[in-house]
Amino acid sequence: MNLTLKIWRQNNAKEAGKMVDYKINNISPDMSFLEMLDVLNNELIEKGEDPVAFDHDCREGICGMCSLFINGEAHGPDRGVTTCQLHMRMFKDGDTIYIEPFRAKAFPVIKDLVVDRTAFDKIQHAGGFVSVNTSGNTQDANAIPIPKHDADRAFDAATCIGCGACVATCKNSSAMLFVSAKVSQFALLPQGKVEAADRVRNMVEEMDALGFGNCTNTGACEIECPKGISLENIARMNREYLKASIK
């Protein structure tokens, strides 16, 4: 396949960036999207140009490091995958592909397509945990039976990989899906319920302070989320917060 790439290039956080066009040829449909970018970068290096910086690590869709807004969608046009699992067979010969960084005030660009997502960490610092010491001197793991239904839903919420696609996709750059996934995971488990009220208050407060937008329930995050985190989690967070606020 031969393709035209339109890629956001930006030297660092301070300088302005712009879209730059690249032509790339002989791309195999079996390549992953990032392998296609590897090919481009190798060509750029051989030509003495600066390669395109992009985040990636595990390349199997679980670490959440890769990002990219491809042809107007977070993680590209495929569903249920991260960019590293997106394959070139999703595109056609001759296509023009727009590649932009995840955009949000809370995710400033570091270089090219690399953004700083430490805002997500900060939200977790505010309450994304169960306050239990790691001594191992807790009760037996089977001491509290947990209904399978709750455990499964907690797991579904916990599969969030923190990639930021929800923020990137949301027209308001809202982090609700991310925050609600963590709030939900713990709210559904007896171990997490104890401090549920403080958790949701603190996490929401931090989320607001970091400059994420509000949720207008467009549902775009749920569609673009590579792990299919459900909007039900946002509803649950809304409930939890309401409960916490009137307490």
């Binding site: 339109k6 956001w8 879209m19 807004f69 042809n71 107007g72 969608e73 046009p77 727009y98 932009e100 955009r103 949000a104 005030k105 809370a106 996709t169 027209k171 308001n172 750059s173 809202s174 208050r201 929401v204 407060e205 989320m207 607001d208 400059g211 994420f212 937008g213 509000n214 949720c215 207008t216 329930n217 467009t218 549902g219 775009a220 569609i223 673009e224 909007l231 039900e232 946002i234 509803a235 649950r236 967070m237 809304n238 409930r239 939890e240 917060y241 309401l242 916490a244 606020s245 009137i246 307490k247």
Partner: protein
């Protein structure tokens, strides 16, 4: 903490948006039932309804709640929109938003602004007249013999007053009251029906008014197609068992209610003689 959280936080803003929105949905139902008197009732029924709506103390409370809701909904919406715009200072060159969300869900602010403009115009056209300006009082023609009619004022006290009594100066009309000297003997009905019919049948502007009203209802439909169900989500009501019900009622609010509202001006303009 809790106090400020219920006003300032992003989630709280959504709660208020949802609560005021849902309240306005209830208002729409009430308003629609009244308005349908224009088609299914007659002038008397409609004017009685209009009087009831402007004088009943319970309704008064509700109406103030409605005004506050509209204001709050609008202001909250504006604040949210400004915050949301700030959350993404640099936009995308290419954004394929239609792949993941409905048009109306992404354009609630625009739809809302249009609705606000509509509400203001609508209130100027009808509500303000009803409340603040002199209005004609409702009369009726009664056959007393073949080919002979008399014009009577309909009154709240049910004893009609012949128009001639006013024309000949025996009675004086002040506001809606009929006075004999300083003694009020009866109250007439403001003829909102007549005003409405004349508005939509106006030889020059009637058609435009009708079209604009119908368009406004289309906007309302879009606004509600996202807003109704969204309000429940904001309040944390999202459960596989009940989502169907919410979606179903949402459909009614998105199609049926705006359509019924829209039929009224069409009926008046094109059908009512």
């Amino acid at each position: 903490m809790a106090k400020s959280a219920l006003l300032k936080s992003s989630l709280a803003k959504k709660y208020w948006m949802a609560l005021t929105g849902l309240f306005l949905c209830l208002f729409l139902v009430g308003h629609l039932i009244g308005n349908l008197q224009l088609i299914f009732g007659d002038a008397s029924k409609f004017n009685e309804y209009a009087l009831f709506m402007t004088t009943n103390p319970a309704v008064k409370v509700l109406s103030y709640l409605t005004y506050i809701s509209i204001l709050f909904h609008a202001i909250d919406g504006i604040v949210l929109t400004i915050q949301n715009k700030k959350a993404r200072p640099i936009g995308y060159v290419k954004n394929n938003a239609k792949a993941n969300s409905s048009w109306s869900s992404r354009n609630m602010a625009i739809l809302g602004t249009l609705l606000l403009v509509f509400i203001v115009t609508h209130m100027v056209n009808f509500w303000a007249k009803m409340h603040f300006s002199e209005m004609p009082l409702q009369t009726m023609e009664v056959n007393i013999a073949e080919g002979q009619t008399v014009k009577l004022y309909k009154t709240v006290q049910e004893q009609p007053i012949p128009a001639t009594a006013v024309e000949m100066g025996q009675l004086e009309v002040r506001g809606t009251g009929f006075y004999q000297g300083d003694l009020k003997i009866a109250d007439g009905y403001k003829d909102l029906h007549k005003i409405t019919v004349e508005f939509f049948q106006h030889p020059q502007y009637g058609l435009i008014a009708t079209v604009l009203y119908v368009l406004a209802m289309v906007v309302l439909g879009f606004h509600l197609s996202h807003g109704f169900a969204s309000a429940f989500q904001s309040l944390g009501i999202n459960h596989p068992k009940y989502n169907c019900l919410i979606k179903g009622i949402g459909k009614i609010f998105c199609y049926v209610i705006p359509a019924l509202f829209a039929i009224i001006p069409l009926y008046i303009h094109f059908i009512l003689k």
